[in-house]
């Protein structure tokens, strides 16, 4: 297993955000985490990338516990987090945003190659590489946020609601790219409210309800599950 999370409990002040959550992510493919707004999906990703420390439980990446590590050290280990709401740096240009993604890398030559690769995934970013990120549309900012994460040369990609607030056409484009990236050998954890979209590109899924894992299974089984159909797929 690439990522193993055991019995995670997360509390903010007195509010419980995650209760006894265990999730496993294999070396390849996309694992999705479904759930309504406020179910605790983002909290889970924030624990993995070290922004939030759990009250109890463990997170292991390649067998090594991440609990004692800072967010910077976790990036070094190969985890790249595309946060909710994209969070690109608005005053930096597109290219500067991408290069900040490679902040910890020293392999100059490979950085240039990866920049080219990101531009080939997202031609629109190449066209606008000198434009400041604040002038970009929501979809373009999402592409930039994903591209920025790829620039870290990660071993695992964490994607938090990449479809949020985007027009259906743009969502399709983003999903297409994510599945292309994953087929290229990049494992990913996809957190989504849009369940049908998430299940369409995932191998395995977890359903988070009231801060706990309510259901898990192979994506095709989840698609056929009555509860999932009623609660998340609209019939």
């Amino acid at each position: 297993m690439l990522l193993e999370c055991d019995n995670l409990v997360v509390r903010y002040e007195r509010v419980v955000a995650l209760e006894d959550v265990s999730i496993r992510v294999p070396e390849s493919g996309v694992v999705c985490l479904l759930g309504a707004n406020g179910a605790g999906k983002s909290s889970f990703l924030r624990v993995v990338s070290g922004l939030v420390k759990p009250a109890s439980g463990d997170v292991r990446f390649h067998g090594e516990s991440l609990l004692k590590l800072s967010p910077e050290e976790i990036v070094v280990r190969g985890v790249a987090h595309v946060p909710e709401g994209r969070r690109v740096f608005p005053g930096l240009t597109v290219e500067e945003n991408l290069r900040v993604g490679a902040y910890l890398r020293r392999d100059k030559h490979a950085i240039e190659e990866d920049l080219e690769r990101v531009f080939s995934y997202f031609p629109r970013l190449r066209e606008r590489h000198r434009q400041s990120a604040r002038t970009m549309s929501g979809g373009e900012q999402q592409m930039l946020a994903i591209g920025r994460a790829l620039m870290a040369k990660p071993k695992l990609l964490l994607l938090d609601e990449p479809s949020m607030g985007l027009a259906p056409v743009v969502v399709e484009e983003i999903v297409e790219i994510i599945s292309r990236i994953s087929r290229g050998g990049m494992p990913a954890v996809l957190v989504e409210q849009n369940a049908s979209l998430a299940l369409s590109i995932s191998e395995y899924g977890y359903v988070l309800e009231n801060r706990r894992i309510a259901l898990e299974g192979v994506a095709s089984d989840l698609r056929g599950n009555d509860h999932v159909r009623r609660a998340y797929l609209g019939g």
Binding site: S70, E72, R87, F89, G91, E96
Partner: protein, 289 residues
């Protein structure tokens, strides 16, 4: 009349130079740390006392004195990050209060070590550039103008062309997203404090022979700089430079043609006007959380 205008122009350029150095440092620190450093005027004061100690006291060269001022005040900035702002990182308001406390301590220390009388610092050179009748620029003032242009251009290149510069700007815009790129916000905070404090120290050191040096000299500077960063837009480096130039020109011209008190009033009115028309300042970030 023509000469007077030209002379006032030169005076304003000089004033804009050192105000911009102090203001840009303050904005840089605010951007990265989220703290308004009230002790910034005292960092300027310490730079001036660096010249008192090294140039007047130890009889070393002025250039060495400026370098010592820069490094010493940069170090003070580093210590401030470690001792005050880092422990108080999650509460910008207490950082601000702590910096007010530090302001008083630094003033008291300067008074203990150097006394409260004004220091007389002999100018490095009596040389004056004369352009025509009645228009002149003392070389000492030219130093300040040249240093400000060189340092601010250098800072600009650093912020726009280097990975540390990108990381610093990224941290100022979104600290958490910067962490997710592997940027250590502590390192960047240290960097911002050294640069911001160092710029204030350099400004103090360079202007020391031209102003009255005493433990409370930071006060008038910080008031001016606060007006400048509010007009420019708190958090905007470009805004700080442009507002420093605008303020220095308005203030110097009004002082010359009316008097200093009227100039202070006009400066404050200018700030109020900007706040009414554009509460974020002329170049204030629109999308800062």
């Amino acid at each position: 009349m023509h000469e007077l205008l030209l002379q006032t122009f030169l005076n304003a350029t000089y004033a804009a130079s050192y105000i911009a150095l102090v203001a840009v440092g303050l904005v840089l620190i605010f951007g990265v740390m989220g703290v308004i450093n009230f002790a910034h005027g005292e960092l300027y004061m310490l730079g001036a006392y660096g010249v008192v100690a090294v140039y007047v006291g130890a009889q070393q060269s002025f250039l060495l004195a400026v370098a010592v001022g820069l490094m010493f005040v940069g170090l003070v900035g580093l210590l401030m990050e470690r001792a005050l702002f880092r422990p108080l990182r999650d509460n910008p308001l207490s950082g601000l209060v702590a910096s007010i406390g530090l302001l008083l301590i630094l003033q008291a220390l300067a008074a203990i070590f150097f006394g409260v009388r004004m220091e007389h610092i002999p100018p490095v050179t009596q040389e004056v550039l004369r352009f025509s009748d009645g228009v002149s620029l003392p070389l000492q003032r030219l130093f300040v103008i040249v240093a400000a242009i060189v340092l601010l251009t250098g800072l600009w290149m650093f912020l726009k062309r280097t990975r540390f510069g990108w990381a610093l700007r990224a941290s100022a815009e979104d600290r958490e997203a910067a962490q997710l790129q592997g940027i250590s916000v502590t390192r960047i905070a240290q960097l911002a404090m050294v640069i911001g404090a160092g710029l204030a120290g350099v400004a103090g050191a360079l202007t020391a022979p031209l102003v009255r040096v005493y433990p409370y000299m930071g006060h008038s500077v910080i008031v001016t700089v606060f007006i400048v960063i509010i007009v420019g837009g708190v958090g905007s480096l470009e805004g700080a430079v442009i507002a420093a130039i605008a303020y220095a020109f308005v203030h110097t011209f009004v002082t010359t043609f009316f008097d200093g008190v009227v100039a202070d009033i006009v400066g404050l009115l200018l700030m109020l006007m900007v706040l009414v028309v554009r509460p974020t300042g002329l170049f204030g970030a629109r999308d800062r959380a």
